[in-house]
């Protein structure tokens, strides 16, 4: 079949195209031949041998790229595998990703990087990069094998899941890693302030009687890490920003010319602490859901361009692990399969922002961040795009989801929009009836 796909030209007829920095969609037919986009235009005709795909009412946009994914392999295969994770990515319109290194054992050496890349090579349908640890075993004490991991193509170092609590260690890591052009990604948390917290500290945590994680736990660490980057000249990437104050600090430091980039997760835009009704552990993640005010401010920051990228922090956990009390349940929710649809449902559909923002922040900029080329739908470009149907709906049922885990607030919920088709190098990775 896939050979046939390569040979048979694909003609996407009558769709609307989205591109970064193009606030208005434009109508165009798209011809794909031999994995390349050969023609784009309203008056382009289908060649006689082409398969014509009716895209009336649908939106074509560059495929997404996620720089923050926990594929759990090795060590957490009950939660997720690289194979399932890549299927989940495709299911959500994502055709490339950077994995986090908090596997068991952690990805803290060139050998571990190689073994993950080997698994990906054998089982993933999309290209995968992995990040590496800053410190050995993510213990925050000794630096991991940085040069070796860099040599294997690691673009980012992070101890994600934990901060590097000792500022001396992080300082050394930054000073050392910057010469390799590596990005240091920070999970910002002051562990002493987080304590055994399970959700945002505030009125809701008080009401539910749950130990809280105060916003300052994140903000103090975020401040510290950016100042270290400012001081050392390293590129720091702040992961999953959740607070308005943290975001404002980043905005200010960016103005100072500090090499800082940052990401926001869809769930931190959509949900807040008030959604944690009835101790539903599918709303438990770290950093936690904050307040409605933060939702609004983060959204504005995304529109303003404070956030360089959207990333899901896809963090699968088994139903067994999540089916417990809120304090004992592990942090994290899945996101790859719901990201584009939820961004459409909650924002694009309501006119909060356009598809151009989604393309920029979840497709183009993530690729640029780690040194890849974006994949715009232009003549001569690689055919790596998705066809989105805004008139269809998606129900996030167990059957629908490809991830091995179903720990998402969207479980069994129906949202507007559907990832209808996914292409990479001209190959149809996903096609719904």
């Amino acid at each position: 079949m896939s050979d046939d796909n390569h040979r048979t030209p694909l003609f996407f007829k009558g769709g609307h195209l989205a591109a970064e920095d193009e606030p208005v969609l434009f109508s165009a037919n798209v011809l794909v031949e031999d994995g390349k986009i050969t023609r784009v235009g309203e008056d382009v005709e289908a060649p006689a041998n082409a398969r014509v795909i009716d895209c009336q009412g649908k939106v074509l946009m560059p495929a997404m790229y996620d720089v923050h994914v926990h594929a759990r392999e090795p060590g957490g295969e009950a939660k997720e595998t690289i194979a399932a994770c890549s299927d989940a990515a495709i299911n959500g319109g994502v055709t490339g990703m950077v994995l986090m290194p908090n596997t068991i054992p952690a990805i803290d050496s060139s050998a571990m990087v190689q073994s993950v890349l080997d698994i990906a090579e054998a089982s993933s349908r999309i290209p995968i990069l992995t990040s590496g640890c800053i410190t050995k075993g993510r213990a925050g004490k000794e630096l991991a094998g940085i040069a070796g991991m860099h040599a294997k193509g690691v673009p980012v170092l992070t101890d994600d899941g934990s901060p590097v609590s000792n500022p001396v260690v992080l300082r050394r890591a930054m000073e050392y890693a910057k010469d390799f052009g590596l990005i240091l990604a920070s999970h910002c948390e002051t562990m002493e302030l987080s304590g055994r917290g399970a959700m945002n500290e505030g009125a809701v945590s008080y009401r539910l009687g749950l130990p809280g994680i105060p916003a300052i736990s994140e903000e103090i660490c975020l401040d510290r890490d950016i100042r270290l980057a400012q001081y050392t000249g390293a590129h720091v990437h702040i992961q999953h920003v959740t607070t308005a104050r943290g975001m404002e600090a980043i905005r200010w430091f960016k103005g100072q010319g500090v090499k800082v980039t940052c990401e926001v997760a869809p769930h931190h835009l959509i949900f807040n602490e008030e959604d944690i009704q009835d101790y539903d552990t599918n709303y438990k993640m770290n950093p936690p859901l904050r307040t409605a005010h933060d939702n609004a401010e983060l959204l504005q920051g995304l529109i303003d361009g404070v956030f360089d990228v959207i990333a899901t922090d896809h963090a699968p956990h088994t139903e067994f692990e999540k089916k417990t009390d809120f304090v004992s349940a592990p942090f994290g929710i899945t996101g790859l399969e719901s990201a584009v649809i939820s961004l459409y449902h909650y924002f694009v559909k309501l006119g909060k922002f356009g598809w151009d923002l989604v393309v920029k922040r979840y497709s183009a900029e993530p690729r640029r961040l780690i040194g890849l080329d974006p994949v715009p739908i232009v003549e001569g470009g690689t055919a790596e795009f998705i066809v989105f149907d805004p008139n269809a709906t998606t129900t996030f049922s167990r059957d629908f989801m490809c991830s091995k885990s179903v720990n998402t607030p969207f479980l069994d919920q129906t949202l507007d929009g559907q990832v209808w088709m996914v292409l990479r190098e001209g190959e149809i990775l996903l096609e719904r009836n």
Partner: protein
Amino acid sequence: MTEEGLKPRKDLLDIESLDLEEIEFLLKTAGPFKELFSRSVKKVPALRGKTVLTLFYEPSTRTRTSFEIAANRLSADVTNFGVSTSSVVKGESILDTVDTLQAMRTDYIVIRHGDSGIPGLVAKHTRASVLNAGDGYHAHPTQALLDAFTLREVYPESAGKRVLIVGDILHSRVARSTSIILNKLGVEVSVLGPGSLVPPARHTFMHAFTNWGDALDWQPHVVYLLRVQLERQQEQFFPSLSEYHGVYGLTNRRVEILRQKGIYLMHPGPVNRGVEIADDAMKYERSLINQQVENGIAVRMAALYWLRPGTDERGGDS
């Protein structure tokens, strides 16, 4: 039927979810139960043949005994499901335990747990009625009911009365549940305690005082002392137990002021003498502490009487 009644619920998990009619029903029903205690036969057959299981992941002899007596006086069969408190008990194994209890055809489960939300989790996985006997910092609904009942005994017209809750508001499920029930009944609630133990994001109806002088100027009708967990001092919430006693405790001098003003004293027990309360204050004539204990049995009987196992699946009517 000529009897007027109230549709039962399956579980009693917190005060927040009860409406005023339900609270009033429970308080009203506790009265006749308390009258039973002065009869020679203190037992009624309402729950004959039913099984009540107590499941205490945090040790509390008082609360457990109170529930056991309540269940016994309703003629239920009561068993304590011995939970090892020494071993670490995780949420997963709780659901396993619930399956076991389900297989034993338990009708009522009385549960106390150190983590908030566990009784609700258990309730979702069993047909048995679940009574929350205290979960984490979250809720202790029967304590709240007995506090409200006790307040009504001294002030039958409780609306508009003022209750000052003193101590560790942050870590207290009692403060949460009791303040909510008092608020629902129209009682004004204020709090007093160290700044480290009075969270700013508390319920908005609770005004916070920072010292006894201001708090007593507010003219409370009842001072409600909370138990101070000794480990809070090790966690640096306040410098020392003696400093706590001096600044926030009910000292002998402050008892004297309470006496002059005719203010009642409540405490959920057990008390830490010399910390939140001076030794002599235990003999204070307007102390309602023992009354609270007795009323605890009556409101727990009312709760057991009202709840109906399996109600949610079957619907209330038959």
